[in-house]
């Protein structure tokens, strides 16, 4: 027969990722708002609580849920610490509230309620048994009053007294309660996982001279520049010794000159592998000092985890079993037929000694954690097994839950989402290739919608050392400015690869290629970072706007608004309480001035549709008085291709003056 008589059903829980198999993500201090369908047979009143606890807590905390419409209930709680939380539900038929509703209906209809008062008194006596102290005394008294010789009217009034309901609610009868079968996990990340501004830079290009290999000391000198722009994560491509066998020359040629430094992603040389520092950058001690210096500037260093080896990597000699072997006994280089990468040996994560390999790679991560690193950008995670990442990230977070992992997985959507589910904090996206209004609207609507938004935190990059898009190649400085604003306002996490970005470097290796000409991947570059046309102060302004406006520090509450011009895109972000509302308009055409009518219903942003409101452009400092559904915008890309408006509810009127009235 039935397992229990629990008559209440709890289902349709949102959020719940893949039936609770994966956690939703939140950052410290955020709230978790949860909804569920909760109902029972018949007409009884039910009560429901949302239960939550930190993984390490023994006891659950309960908060009463609120009924919305159509059996939908909502509750919420805040997550205050990094780590894992759980939430679940309990709901029950509430005999007291059912009785209270019915006695009210009957007395309103003038029906006799003598029997009901008897039953209520009994119910309250039972409740008193679960209570103690003053509440117990109070309840017993109340129970007696309901069957006392007071007048019927007085007794009905007592029965319906709100204070009685409040006290009874503290001692519910949950003996027949339904408990939701699953405890649903929440992965709570530190705030930088949710809101960060990345700057990618090749340390070896920091000497200021093309013929001189930069050092960590040179990088230190660059820190004020990066801090002034307002970045808080400095991501360095791999800093390890670079292989010599099949080393790639300038512009990815197969011929290498004696001075060609090779690609930093070709890791491993006689000097060491993933735990070593490239000798020309300095010593491990230099690196440690550099890391501690960055902290003074409010910047955190992110390192690259590129789990692959050159033929010169020590692993090749020490652990040939960790690589793929060809029938002739040689080690297999990387290939994606017909392409060959003879300078790279991929690791075989399924080799017979895979446990040793996995442990070693975990050791690599711990080695850099010991140097003070807590942010890792992971190179091509989608070419290694999901199970490996799930295990590795889980192990790291046991001791260092504040560690942030960014997945560089430019691959198919299901794979990107899976990596996010199994533990990566952030992910690269298709942002670089979404340029038109339709493309941007479609893509960011998908990312901002449930369930994706619950586990996938995008990190938007307008460029990377691998990606110089056609839009940037052709659009000049206005294109860079527009893409910066889009990245920095559509994404709470974003980054640029500089100084190429702020200097609007747009020369591609060849037509239809997204590779940079004279790419830093294969050679040392010197950059004139003080050039007068640099975007650095524009970037600094945008980053300050991000810091000062909490609406831009999450990816929730993103809404697109129609503009009757395909080259103008408009969207808003707001805090849950509407205390901060940002409205962004970008001219996507880097060549021409465009204007149009922007439409949105003021009430969707929490504004009074009858009142005018002020939009204050934080880029130009201009202020506009707007009203109603439709307002005019015009943007000249040669000046600034975007507005970042803060929307202010309060507009001064004559009533604000002392002499009014």
């Amino acid at each position: 027969m039935a397992d229990s008589l629990g008559r209440v059903i709890i289902e349709g829980v949102q959020p719940e990722i893949d039936g609770g198999r994966f956690p939703i993500k939140r950052s410290v201090g955020e709230s978790v708002a949860v909804e569920a369908d909760i109902f029972t047979d018949g007409h009884d009143v039910i009560s429901a609580i949302l239960l939550y606890r930190k993984e390490t807590d023994a006891a659950w905390t309960g908060v009463f849920m609120k009924a919305l419409v159509n059996d939908r209930w909502r509750g919420s709680f805040r997550v205050e610490e990094i780590g894992r939380y759980f939430y679940t539900f309990q709901a029950w038929v509430d005999r007291f509230m059912t009785w209270r509703r019915d006695i009210r209906k009957k007395s309103d209809a003038g029906q006799a309620v003598a029997a009901d008062l008897l039953m209520g008194s009994d119910l309250i006596q039972k409740t008193a048994k679960r209570a103690s102290g003053a509440d117990q005394t109070m309840l017993r008294g109340w129970a007696e009053l309901l069957v006392s010789d007071k007048s019927m009217n007085e007794k009905i009034k007592l029965a319906l007294d709100l204070n009685l309901a409040r006290i009874v609610t503290r001692y519910p009868d949950r003996s027949q309660a339904t408990r939701y079968a699953k405890k649903l996990p929440v992965a709570v990340e530190r705030q930088k996982g949710r809101f960060s501004s990345w700057y990618e830079m090749f340390p070896r290009s920091c000497s200021g001279k093309e013929d001189q290999h930069g050092t960590f000391k040179d990088c230190e000198a660059r820190l004020p520049y990066i801090a002034e722009m307002g970045f808080d994560v400095l991501y360095l491509p791999p800093i390890h010794p670079i292989g010599h066998t099949h080393r790639k020359g300038r512009n990815n040629t197969l011929r290498t000159g004696p001075d060609d430094p090779g690609s930093p992603w070709a890791i491993g040389a006689p000097e060491g592998g993933h735990r070593a520092v490239h000798p020309q950058l300095g010593t491990l001690e230099d690196f440690r000092q550099f890391v501690s210096k960055t902290k003074e500037y409010g910047i955190e260093v992110a390192l690259d985890l590129a789990f692959q080896c050159t033929p010169d990597h020590p692993y090749v000699q020490e652990h040939p079993e960790w690589f793929y072997r060809r029938p002739d006994g040689t080690i297999q280089y990387a290939e994606n037929p017909p392409k060959k990468y003879e300078d790279i040996y991929p690791l075989n994560f399924e080799n017979d000694r895979w446990q040793d390999l996995w442990q070693e790679l975990l050791g690599v991560v711990h080695c850099w954690i010991e140097q003070g690193i807590r942010i890792f950008r992971v190179d091509n995670p989608h070419t290694k097994p999901f199970a490996f990442w799930k295990w590795l990230i889980g192990e790291v977070k046991k001791d260092y839950p504040e560690t942030v992992f960014l997945a560089e997985a430019f691959t198919r959507p299901r794979v990107m989402y899976r990596l996010a589910k199994i533990g990566f904090t952030q992910s690269y996206t298709y942002f670089a290739w979404r340029n038109t209004k339709w493309e941007l609207t479609q893509y960011f609507t998908e990312l901002a919608r449930a369930p994706v938004r619950e586990f996938f935190w995008p990190n938007l990059w307008p460029n990377t050392p691998d990606i110089l898009t056609e839009y940037l190649q052709m659009g000049g400085r206005p294109a860079f400015a527009a893409r910066l604003v889009l990245a920095a306002t559509l994404g709470a996490n974003y980054g640029i690869y500089g100084p190429a970005f702020e200097l609007a470097e747009n020369a591609a290796r060849e037509a239809h290629s997204e590779e940079y000409l004279d790419s830093e991947k294969y050679q040392i570059r010197s950059w004139d970072i003080e050039r007068s046309d640099s975007l650095k102060s524009f970037i600094a302004r945008v980053n300050r706007i991000r810091r000062e406006n909490p609406a831009l520090q999450k990816d929730r509450n993103l809404h697109f608004h129609p503009v009757n011009n395909e080259q103008l895109i408009a969207y808003s972000k707001h805090t849950d309480d509407h205390s901060n509302i940002i409205l962004v308009v970008v001219n996507l055409d880097p060549h021409h001035t465009h204007s149009g009518w922007l439409e949105f219903a003021p009430e969707t942003l929490g504004l009074d549709p009858q009142q005018s409101f002020q939009v204050h452009d934080l880029l130009s400092d201009a202020r506009y008085l707007w009203q109603g559904l439709s307002n005019f915008v015009e943007l000249n890309p040669q000046i600034v291709p975007a507005h970042i408006f803060v929307v202010r509810r309060k507009v001064r009127t004559e009533r604000d003056f002392d002499y009014f009235l």
Copy 2:
């Protein structure tokens, strides 16, 4: 570390109800098409199979799935027997197909493949070990040829030979395969669960005289009439003895005359309870004979399960503990404050002896199953615990899996859906109150969409003894005809309460009431079923159209099409293979002729957009030649308020004549 090295991920399965907790529904002979996201890390080729079996089968049958786009895969199987099936998935990295793809790419690029041929030979030898007989011999020979002294070109050709791929595919290496963690259930019902035409009738009104209580014999005389109209389920309100205490009089009055027969839903009298037959209808033997007579007409009798009692029910004496007790020891009558139903004692499904009560009610069902009944209409199931129904239906279906249960749950959507999930075959709906184009389109789009369509089979009733809608009250005969067509074509299952329906009975008890005047619930009525304005032959025609057109026998593939007139609604249904396409147009305004342009893209119905096509109105037998996106329709409700077109792809042209050419 990782549990296994299974690198393939299977997720996003559709259909899967509440994580596999509840079965999807299918009828015998239907196919189950299933999709899932299946992918792995890296670039390897994967293979996936859909596994299925009947609950009683020991072994799974596998069918290879097909990749669609974006890591989405599809497979399907047919369910051939009533009962429960399961399906699940298995997927793996396919080393052979990966090798085959790569050798093709390399040879196309003119690269050396000698090492690849060696690896391939090795792979095929390993496959041969899993094979036997001729396949094994063939594979071994092939493996040797790939490393023989044949020319490189010949060996590449052999490697890519499709026959080789076919044989290897029979013996996959599934040692590292991923098995989907859940086996997902399918509840397979008989075809009448999916497609049925119901007629509800009060047996006591079948004598033809208001002052004479009808009998089962009288009902027999009515069978040819019902069969001619084309109904295949005859549903009788409760046939049990009716209580006397607080019996309701005509038009639900509290005063009862000596001849008032009472409501059939007031079950239980000294003559017996739920297992007994009302003496004025006849004996149990009469009933059995009536049931066997209906079968001769292709009609099945459905009985009502109304689990409630009058104060005169034998249970009240024998099992007072099954009822709610008031503080003064009396039994509590039904109430929904401020309404009181003093003639009804509800059963307390949570009483201390609930197991006895549940067993007894199961016994009641079995008792009628023994009389040949296999269809039950369940009265107000939403006022009894879900757990009770899940258990009861499960128990009945163990021995009688062909039993059909229709839930009369006019309640909130979540509750209706839950009843469908836990075992009810069919459900009443909100159809009666969906009258405008917008309402009908919204509601039936919701019902025809996943996941609802996978478990909820609607049964559409334009009227019931409790429901005479305002639309029917005011619209006269055209309204009845329009609602019949809507019910019979929007729903594979539908029913009417007659003869009130076919005689367009539209007198309500009072304004704004949906109760019939002189309702059969409280008195015997005589009906002139031969009246010339009866809709009986119209109904017969509609039911024949339903029988002859399989598109109308399921609720899948329902699509609404725009008409530029709010009073005209148009929608189509088609079989999965488009061999039968029905297009329905209904004039929702019972008073005025309406016309408009109906729009649909012919290719959405599997038609060639370049060709004209014929629409043949199965109601009027008129044929129209249509073409392109937009076609004209006009309907006069005084003639017929609807078209039920069958769409015929083939239109005769000059090429059909012998003398063409």
